[in-house]
């Protein structure tokens, strides 16, 4: 059996914009750290045992797909919430991020219920928030930047002041284009509008997830990969945005 198992939720539905780059990144880095990692694609109609996995991942999808996913997961949302509460590492991108909230309101005012794991809601607006984005985040008191690309019509608003964003927008739109917050970071769950290959050029985030995966198995994370291409790409993206 593989050392680590990642559950990739509904890849056939939620697979917009190169999101699988994140899965490839986690798998390869684990491999380079000396551990094999199996990616289990979770298809529609499965009963998910969340505690069997070391990390769960879900990518972005269009409205129709998002609705299908809510219908799938709504019966398991309390189990999902419990596991997240207990520190299950997770990465939710774009559409997957939105459905962790209370509801999603489409442009004609229709409310699609979410999984209600967190106290936030999302309202769709006509113009999309598109472009490169860079945010300031911090981990154990150490500041770092996260660079990526966002493309979403939904605006996400936190209703609970205790919810902590992934970071503060330096350039770009973030959760709603207004309050300067981007994403959500709760225990070992990261949810963000930065789609596609977020982890490859933000190795600090990739290693945060890997470290928590290892710690939960009683393994010690030593780090030490040669990240010069990763860092080059990160800096190049940042420069492209900030000039």
């Amino acid at each position: 059996m593989a050392d680590f198992i990642i559950a990739h939720l509904y890849p056939e539905l939620m697979n917009l914009y190169g999101d699988r780059g994140n899965i490839i990144c986690l798998q390869k880095r684990l491999e380079w750290y000396g551990h094999d990692c199996y990616i289990e694609a979770i298809p529609r109609g499965s009963k998910i045992q969340f505690n069997q996995y070391d990390l769960i991942f879900m990518g972005g999808g269009a409205d129709r797909e998002q609705k299908l996913v809510v219908n799938e997961l709504i019966h398991q949302s309390s189990e999902l919430k419990l596991e997240i509460e207990q520190g299950l590492p997770a990465l939710f991108i774009c559409g997957a991020y939105q459905l962790l909230g209370k509801y999603y309101e489409s442009s004609d005012g229709m409310q699609i219920p979410g999984l209600n794991v967190f106290d936030f809601y999302t309202r769709k607006e006509k113009n999309r928030l598109i472009g490169n984005i860079v945010i300031a985040a911090s981990l154990r008191g150490q500041p770092f930047t996260v660079a990526g690309f966002e493309n979403h019509s939904g605006r996400t608003y936190f209703e609970n002041e205790e919810l902590r964003a992934l970071g503060k927008v330096i350039s770009g739109f973030g959760n709603n284009g207004q309050d300067g917050q981007e994403g959500l970071w709760y225990k070992n769950l990261i949810a963000t509008y930065m789609h596609g290959p977020l982890l490859p050029k933000n190795p600090i985030l990739a290693d945060f997830l890997i470290e928590t995966m290892m710690n939960r198995k009683g393994l010690i994370f030593k780090g030490g990969l040669d990240d010069h291409i990763e860092n080059y790409s990160h800096e190049q993206t940042k420069k492209r945005i900030l000039g």
């Binding site: 050029k201 080059y232 190049q236 993206t237």
Partner: protein, 468 residues
Amino acid sequence: MKKIALIIAIMAGKFASCLSRILGTGGTSIPGKIALRLYPHILSDLAANISEEIFIVTGTNGKTTTTNMLAEILKEKGYKFVHNSAGANMITGITTAFIKETDWTGKRKIDYALLETDEANVPLLLQQLHPRVVLITNFFSDQLDRYGELNNTINLIKDAVRDTDIELVLNADDPLVTHFKNETGLHCWYYGFEATNYDKLQGEASREGRYCVFCGQELLYQRFHYAQLGKFCCSECGNQNPESNFTAHSLILTPKIEMKINDIEIRSPYQGFYNAYNILAAVSLAKLVGIEDEIIQKAIANYEPRAGRMEQFEIDKRKVTLILVKNPTGLNQALATINTVPTPKAIFFALNDNVADGRDISWIWDADIEQITALDSNIEAIVCSGLRSGDIALRFKYADAQVDRIYIEDELQSGINKALSVAADATYILSTYTALFVCRDILLKLQQESITSADLIDQKQKSSESQG
């Protein structure tokens, strides 16, 4: 007054074209932009000079090659036509093409217009002119950042053609295209492939159009030509490939494309399955125009690959191929073609993220780069270049390419030099759109220099022989 405004706009457009030619800049959209600003009706006025028909070619991949091939056929037949070449496929580029073909009074009669049109520009264009035919090649994820998701793009086009008398020419093998018939009620012609020796039974993981557009059921495939193109049916509602009017069979891809379309034998210097589709689309349109088989055959046989469409160069006795890449499906097809060459090779990849490239470069992660980094694929160097050299370098790294063979050279010239400096028999220059013509100019210059220096050596040898 209107007439004067038209003439001023034409003159300004022609002047801008002339100026950009002198300055050596591409200038495919600026003349149109200026003319449209001066006289917004210019396009519909000039389109009224088309005496026969207007054809629009749209879809994600293959627009340029399909339109170019059809242009070659019309040229062979001796028709006069407007054609926006070189991928300038927005309203401004199309206006530039009309200005180029008209005289200064804006009255010159022209037989046809062949308009390669960006998907998002189709609705706008249809407000200006009335084509007989809109041909749709295929739909893949491409530059999603410009229009949101693929469904939006498809709906935009569907809404624009609904309630018109336009005839559609559709790819019968793409489930994202075939449903236009049911949802628009327009008259449709179809082109498609019978089973080929290159088909696969398994689909790619990240392909589009996995679900039936009518009922949402997962489509069943008998075979895949590539991506979501293939023989499909829906077990729930019976949605399946329509019967083709133009059917390609007996396909051979290597070394060059050969096939039969209905009973016309076709030979082309092109390679790759996607180009076989482009030929099929162009021939289908030519048959609808009523052009004779012999003329079609001759034009296709003589039509050599153009800028960045597997264009060949020879530099210091080395085979160099320039390939435009812009989305996962196109890149997969390019890599599959590269993989058929067993000898050592070098790859150069220029990734830009300007608007015309698509600002979102995430698509490189949906491409199956892993197919080329397998250990036995003989890649001596991967040179990563362009504004997002780091991203493409990372993609290769995470596809398990050997890290010591990945080089980052942001600058195109030094990157190409690096790729040509490693020992390899073949070099592939892959580039996104805004770096393509710069790369091409570099390659043309290097080719010229290598011819000149070969001549010099030749002359030296000759003179030393005559002295000896």
